[in-house]
């Protein structure tokens, strides 16, 4: 077992890669009551076309990673939720573009719960009947999102930006696409992506690292896994241009929603290079759209935005995008002002004192996030899957140069890559 210390944060990480390839990371949090564990596979909604090691190329129905996540909770002896409840643990799971994570939090029976988590994820059990039954449940989950205007504007923007990349496919799929899912396809996906060498276990809480590591070692030693070759993931080429500049939909809402952003042209990065670009872009976006920016205040005073206005940046190896927006009484006027102001900001550049102010803000924000076991486990896993380490973020932030931020500004603000998504109130509603 190795150790990595972060002296400023006063945190120590313990880790080991097991013989079957599973990566295990442990972060003791003395003084906390709660232990939080995530068991995550690097498999998300974008992995819909792949070659399982030693097998034929397959394309799977939209929404299957998420469907599989739901079905993992079923075991031959009943559903796993009851087992966790017996042991006082709150369990859940989630699927994103890139990952599927299974998790629990508890204040007692940590070892029992951890064993339950690892064992149920490593023991798939699907029947035709239970697969059919899940279609009704997920169908209602999809319907719920259909009625959620924030989700509709968010996803509308991604659909507008991307021409081919599977990030444009809704994570849960559609009622039609999940109808095609059967237990054979679920097993294919499971066998491809749930090998320990494609997974990461993170445990944070008032734990003794050596005890927990030994438990995981023995648990894994008791299961036989053949070593797995490389999973080939196939993604289509994505042109620079957006699919469409504007996507609009009308829903029963009281106020319009408007999101806009730029598709990232500079992708293909991993590791610290990826983090540097992510940080530089986030600092740039904060300088433009943050609550301390002139533009934010101007738009607020003009009544075009309110305090729900926000921004976000996503960068993965294969794709990236920025987005900003929120509720607005006049989406067209808001977009007009953005097209007017961004070129001016890009020309003037972001001054050093602004970067320093934002650096301070981000540093304090990271400290605050370290109060949250959930944030630590999820962010750590996400950075590991992108080839770097959460502990590197603060040092890289401290070394970030003003010139890098301004280079990003010029590179990222490219109007060929700009798209907007609008949700308007229904007429006469």
């Amino acid at each position: 077992m190795k150790k990595l210390e972060h002296t400023q944060l006063k945190e120590t990480l313990h880790f080991e890669k097991l013989p079957n390839g599973l990566q295990v990371y442990l972060l003791p949090k003395p003084g906390f009551n709660k232990t939080y564990a995530t068991f995550t596979t690097r498999y998300g909604s974008i992995d819909n076309h792949f070659i399982p090691p030693g097998k034929e190329e397959v394309r799977v129905p939209d929404g299957i990673a998420h469907f599989l996540e739901h079905k993992m909770f079923e075991e031959p002896d009943g559903d796993v939720f009851r087992k966790f409840s017996n042991q006082g643990a709150s369990a859940n799971a989630f699927t994103s573009f890139e990952r599927t994570a299974y998790l629990f939090s508890c204040t007692e029976n940590v070892k029992k719960n951890l064993t339950t988590l690892i064992d149920f994820v490593q023991n798939p059990y699907f029947t035709d009947q239970s697969v059919e039954k899940e279609k009704g449940i997920i169908g209602q989950e999809i319907r719920m999102y259909d009625d959620n205007p924030d989700w509709r504007s968010y996803f509308g923007l991604i659909e507008a930006m991307f021409q081919n990349h599977p990030v444009k496919i809704d994570i849960a799929g559609t009622v039609e696409s999940i109808a095609k899912i059967d237990k054979e396809t679920l097993y294919t996906c499971y066998e491809t992506f749930y090998h320990p060498s494609n997974m990461l276990l993170f445990v944070v809480g008032p734990i003794e690292p050596e005890d927990i590591m030994e438990l995981v070692r023995q648990n894994q030693a008791g299961k036989s896994y053949d070593s797995q070759g490389e999973i080939r993931r196939i993604y289509p080429d994505e042109p620079l241009q957006v699919a469409e500049q504007k996507k609009e939909v009308s829903l029963s809402v009281g106020i319009s929603k408007c999101l806009f952003g730029f598709k990232e042209s500079r992708t293909g990065l991993t590791g610290d290079d990826l983090v540097r670009q992510e940080l530089a872009t986030e600092v740039m976006l904060e300088a433009i759209f943050g609550q301390g920016s002139d533009l934010y205040q101007a738009l607020y005073d003009e009544g075009l935005i309110d305090d729900h206005f926000g921004y976000d940046y996503n960068l993965e190896e294969g794709y990236g995008f920025s987005m900003a927006g929120g509720d607005t009484p006049d989406p067209d006027a808001l977009l007009g002002r953005i097209r007017e102001e961004l070129p001016r900001i890009a020309e003037a550049g972001i001054p050093e004192e602004v970067v320093e102010r934002i650096r301070k803000k981000k540093l304090g924000t990271y400290l605050r996030y370290y109060n949250s076991p959930e944030w630590i486990a999820n962010q750590f896993t996400s950075y590991k899957f992108r080839g770097t380490d959460l502990f590197n973020i603060i040092p890289l932030l401290e070394r970030l140069k003003v010139s890098e931020v301004n280079r990003r500004l010029n590179e990222h603000v490219n109007w060929d890559c700009f798209a907007a998504s609008i949700v308007r109130p229904l007429e006469g509603d």
């Binding site: 939090s105 921004y311 934002i358």
Partner: protein
């Protein structure tokens, strides 16, 4: 960042609505042993500074300091909209940082201090909350005076707004009135929240609890910078104020911060009376709203007659847990897992008004099926038809939930404040003990008090008349 919360699809929805499981924890830090497991319990020490109540939780487990002011008002049609408007006006500027951009940049300089302000209902009290969370200087190479700066900032935010004569700055009030109008109008945007509010509004028609925490559109026109300022001064000088501090500081330090930055008087503050708790009447009302929606939202409201102040509150928590608080609960198992009707089907308690609500999202045509299954679960509870396993699972989950609330500063404050408001403080160990001791008979007894009152359905515009499905 605010926008990224959406991009995960969870297996089940842990909190269809903000929850209010209550516990409270006074004084000093102790370690309690429960069945061989140590739990670190954090406690608040309470001291009066003039007519302010100051609660301090001294701990080094967080990397931040949190400071929160809570101001009580009665929930009433006369004040609800004035009260709702205050947090956003106060966050526009202070005497030292009169423009909003100056204020926000000051927050950035305080290492991204997180400022929050909101109003919420606790029974028929309307609570104004203003707070600040900022890094503990021990984790930064500089910034020794950070905590003092932060307290000064929060003190100003609350007590020294930008004024023009005996009024708030006009442009700020005008803009925030417009924003509040949008906030009220956009309640319908989130159909889960909308349906939850509409159900309670119908059920409590004529009672203050029916009011929306963000106020009423019809009051906005009459609000001006003068009358809002008069309201604000009256509020801060005469209503109960609780100040919370959580972080690596001792009570003396917190008291000094309050003395230096928060004006206090000696006059008594007017206690706000708790909510009128009604017993269930027995007649079930059905209400249907129609909007252009894909999914129907089925909500039910029940009167329990039991609040945090009552001895059988832990039994009611057990009732709620067995019925619909968790993924092992009856609603989850029967509405979702067995009948495949919904993705979420859960129940929750409002612990000051004594209300239990059920919420679920279903196919519109399945209305009657879902209503029947949910009502059957109420009946099973009333007949005491739940297993030992259901009781034990619920007990374990509630206990876990109570202990986990010790790990978030917000939850610590929230739990303690529930105790302040209800007048019944249950320290964590006592609360856990009470939950452990609840018997199946006590759950059955409390089930007899739960009366279904209103069935609310939000559905599409298809079909005819007032039919449900």
């Amino acid at each position: 960042m605010a926008l990224s919360f959406l991009v995960q699809f969870s297996c089940w929805m842990r909190k269809p609505l903000p929850t209010g499981i209550a516990s409270s924890v006074p004084k000093g830090n102790i370690r309690i042993g429960k069945r061989g497991v140590d739990v670190t319990e954090l406690r608040f020490e309470t001291v009066d500074v003039g007519n302010l109540r100051v609660h301090v939780c001294s701990t080094d487990k967080f990397k931040t300091h949190m400071m929160v002011a809570m101001v009580q008002q009665e929930l009433s049609p006369e004040t609800v909209t004035l009260h709702a408007l205050l947090p956003s006006v106060l966050q526009r500027g202070t005497r030292s940082y009169p423009s909003t951009v100056q204020l926000k940049r000051k927050l950035d300089e305080l290492y991204g201090a997180n400022m929050f302000g909101d109003v919420f209902k606790r029974g028929e009290r309307h609570i104004l909350q203003m707070g600040l969370e900022l890094p503990d200087a021990a984790y930064l190479s500089e910034a020794d005076a950070l905590l003092d700066d932060g307290a000064a900032f929060l003190g100003e935010l609350l007590h020294q707004p930008v004024t023009e004569g005996e009024a708030f700055r006009e442009s700020y009030v005008k803009a925030e009135k417009k924003n509040l109008r949008q906030k009220i109008e956009s309640l319908m945007d989130d159909k889960i929240r909308f349906a939850a509010h509409r159900c309670v509004e119908e059920m409590c028609e004529g009672e203050p609890y029916a009011l929306f925490n963000h106020g009423r559109l019809q009051d906005l026109d009459a609000i001006d910078p003068q009358n809002l300022y008069t309201y604000y001064q009256e509020l801060l000088s005469s209503r109960p104020i609780d100040l919370y501090f959580v972080g690596n500081l001792d009570t003396d330090r917190a008291v000094r911060l309050v003395e230096n930055h928060f004006p206090s008087g000696n006059g008594a503050r007017r206690e706000i009376s708790p909510a009128a708790v009604r017993e269930g009447a027995g007649e079930v009302r059905e209400v249907v709203d129609r909007l252009d929606v894909n999914q129907g939202k089925l909500n039910m409201g029940c009167r329990t007659g039991v609040t945090l102040a009552d001895d059988d509150y832990p039994a009611l928590q057990m009732y709620n847990g067995i019925l619909g608080g968790f993924p092992h609960s009856k609603l989850f198992i029967n509405v979702r897992e067995k009948a495949s009707l919904a993705y979420y089907a859960a129940s929750r308690l409002e612990s000051h008004k004594g209300i239990l609500t059920v919420q679920s999202g279903i196919e519109i045509d399945n209305y009657q099926k879902a209503v029947d299954i949910i009502r059957e679960q109420f009946d099973l509870m009333e007949r005491g038809e739940f297993t030992d396993a259901e009781v034990n699972q619920t007990r374990a989950m509630l206990t876990n939930q109570l202990k986990e609330r010790q790990d978030r500063a917000h939850d610590l404050v929230d739990s303690h404040y529930h105790g302040m408001l209800s007048g019944r403080k249950r320290p964590l160990d006592q609360m856990i003990d009470e939950v452990q001791r609840v018997t199946a008979d006590q759950v059955k007894a409390v089930a007899g008090k739960v009366r279904l009152d209103t069935i609310y359905f939000l559905r599409d515009k298809g079909g005819v008349g007032n039919e449900k499905a």
